[in-house]
């Protein structure tokens, strides 16, 4: 069986030639959660956008392949590519308030994608989103469907977007920091919910996060990014048991652990970062895009 998502040697550059993704390779198997973890500017959101076909115009992919369930996106024309991405993937965004249109009720926003992109009948779409609202444990769907986004709490808005993401039965969901804006108790509820739906629907998830705590709890596999480069890739349990790369070790040691205050919150050693930056600069000098 082919991977749900397979990215091979993906590189992207800005108009000034600066590389933002550096030969990124990763795969997500069907029904698997892969975390993509890194600090700001590491390129984790960029990879999510590349998968969904929504990279900013200024970013140009110059090499590599991206396959969704074995189909090479690079071999499809723009329309076929959009259709494939639209049918098989979905996004759970970071900030539900900006992801929702403030002037439209929740109901029409949730059915929109099903009706307009997938061509479902209004009735079928309506039935489906009610079913999903029940799965995300929204007990008063009538009120929520009639609401405008600002009338719901942050946790409720995120539930709505999770329901919307799963509604069309995508094979792959890109979850881009889906709980970063939430309070910690709400975050736990939302992570549970995503895990529950992920298991029930057998959906693969590419889970973008900056938080190694979240990585440990939600994912089976993990890719650690720095400056657009995958520095380490492992099974999640393995990564925490025996991190191989110095940067990964530094990142784990910097992450706060209230159970062990003196072994955590260690500032990252500048020499680790300097070594990594030098390594990347040297590789960039050698690098010529293989095509494009």
């Amino acid at each position: 069986m082919s991977a749900c998502l397979d990215i091979r040697g993906l590189s992207a550059v800005l108009p000034n030639g600066q590389r933002v993704l550096r030969s990124v390779s990763l795969s997500v198997q069907p029904g698997e959660v892969r975390a993509l973890v890194g600090e700001s500017g590491a390129g984790k959101t960029m990879i999510g956008k590349a998968v969904l076909g929504v990279l900013p115009k200024s970013v140009r992919v110059v090499e590599g392949e991206m396959l969704i369930e074995g189909e090479d996106l690079g071999r499809l024309d723009a329309k076929a590519r959009r259709t494939l991405i639209g049918a098989r993937t979905a996004l759970i965004p970071q900030d539900p308030l900006t992801a929702l249109n403030p002037s439209r009720r929740i109901a029409s926003q949730m059915t929109d994608r099903l009706v307009r992109i997938l061509g479902w009948s209004g009735e079928r779409a309506d039935k489906r989103i009610r079913q999903l609202l029940d799965e995300v444990q929204i007990r008063d769907p009538e009120r929520v469907l009639k609401s405008y986004p600002h009338e719901l709490s942050g946790g409720m808005r995120q539930r709505v977007l999770i329901a919307a993401a799963f509604a069309a039965e995508p094979r792959l969901i890109v979850a881009d920091e889906p709980t970063t804006a939430l309070d910690v108790t709400v975050q736990k509820q939302i992570l549970r919910l995503i895990a529950q739906l992920q298991r029930d629907h057998g959906t693969a998830i590419l889970f973008v996060t900056h938080d190694l705590g979240v990585v440990a709890k939600v994912s089976q596999k993990v890719s650690v990014l720095y400056a657009g480069k995958v520095v380490e890739e492992a099974e999640t349990a393995q990564l925490f048991a025996a991190p191989q790369h110095g940067y990964t070790r530094a990142l784990i040691a910097a992450t706060p652990r209230y159970t062990d205050p003196y072994a955590s919150l260690k500032p990252v050693d500048e020499s680790v970062l300097a070594g990594l930056t030098a390594e990347i600069a040297a590789a960039d000098k050698e690098w010529r895009p293989s095509h494009g």
């Binding site: 600090e39 108790t185 705590g213 999640t236 652990r257 205050p261």
Partner: protein, 274 residues
């Protein structure tokens, strides 16, 4: 027990509730803080923790008297400052300093780092030896002297937060309010800033109120913790006692909700029905 720098009794703060404001006329008041009692011992670092809407930032702003209490009292060094006028507060401002969450919006983009740190020094009659004082402030937070001539946009997030700390501490205040100062930072930078604040607080004998939504960052920094919820204090105790033996269900829930960077297969299992 050290003598308290702040002594707060029955503190209530009410603010206009803009969500219920009629089209014409004043917004009705909503009580944000509903009667708080606590002390901040001199030279201690106190964590004030709560989720959004708990009133933790409002409490911080009341302590430095950016807000006036609607009831109760705030004593600073034994003097009731709850209803002082702006003119009466001015001599106290130097002693009550703040570090903000987002240094991008709290540092003036058109001013050099030098003038950002120098401005409050001038305003508080410390305009002599300005160069020396700014140099000292930069050194204290581990920034090179060459940064004095730079602008905010030339700095990384962590460096900007260091400038915020340098500005607040240049005045040698008695009290520092740090409101979510590491929430916007990457973990590696977050650890640097916390370690820096820990060191400076000890060196300078500062009294600090460290406001955070995240219990996991405060254990090492703070000697005592106040947990807030919906405008009330849920639990207040010494840090180790709070973490090792939390008394309230809410505190236990908050701790249990923090995803530790450790494998735990049960963490995501649905809660068994109570």
């Amino acid at each position: 027990m050290a003598e308290p720098l702040f002594s707060v009794r029955g503190l209530k703060v009410a603010l206009p509730d803009m969500t219920r404001k009629p089209l014409i006329g004043r917004a009705p008041l909503a009580e944000i803080l509903k009667g708080l009692d606590f002390d901040l011992p001199k030279g201690s670092v106190t964590g004030i923790v709560g989720e959004s809407g708990s009133g933790k930032s409002t409490l911080g702003r009341a302590l430095v008297r950016l807000l006036e209490p609607s009831a109760g009292s705030i004593s600073f060094e034994g003097r009731d400052i709850s209803h002082l006028s702006e003119a009466e507060l001015r001599p106290l401002r130097r002693d009550l300093q703040m570090i903000f969450q987002d240094p991008m919006s709290s540092l003036n983009p058109r001013h050099t780092i030098f003038s950002i740190i120098a401005a409050p020094l001038r305003q508080n009659g410390l305009g002599d030896r300005l160069k020396e004082r700014v140099a000292e402030a930069l050194q204290r937070v581990g920034l090179p002297q060459s940064f004095a001539s730079r602008y905010r946009h030339e700095l990384s997030g962590g460096q900007r937060q260091r400038v915020g700390i340098a500005r607040a501490l240049a005045l040698a205040p008695k009290f520092v309010l740090a409101d979510e100062i590491v929430s916007g930072l990457d973990v590696s930078t977050q650890a640097q800033i916390l370690t820096l604040l820990e060191k400076l607080a000890a060196e300078m004998g500062l009294t600090v109120a460290f406001i955070s939504h995240d219990l996991s960052v405060i254990r090492r920094l703070c000697q005592q913790v106040i947990v807030m919820r919906e405008g009330r204090i849920v639990e207040a105790s010494a840090t180790d006692a709070l973490f090792d033996n939390p008394q309230e269900t809410y505190t236990r829930d908050l701790l249990a909700a923090i995803p530790l960077p450790e494998i735990d297969a049960d963490w995501l299992r649905p809660k068994p029905p109570a």
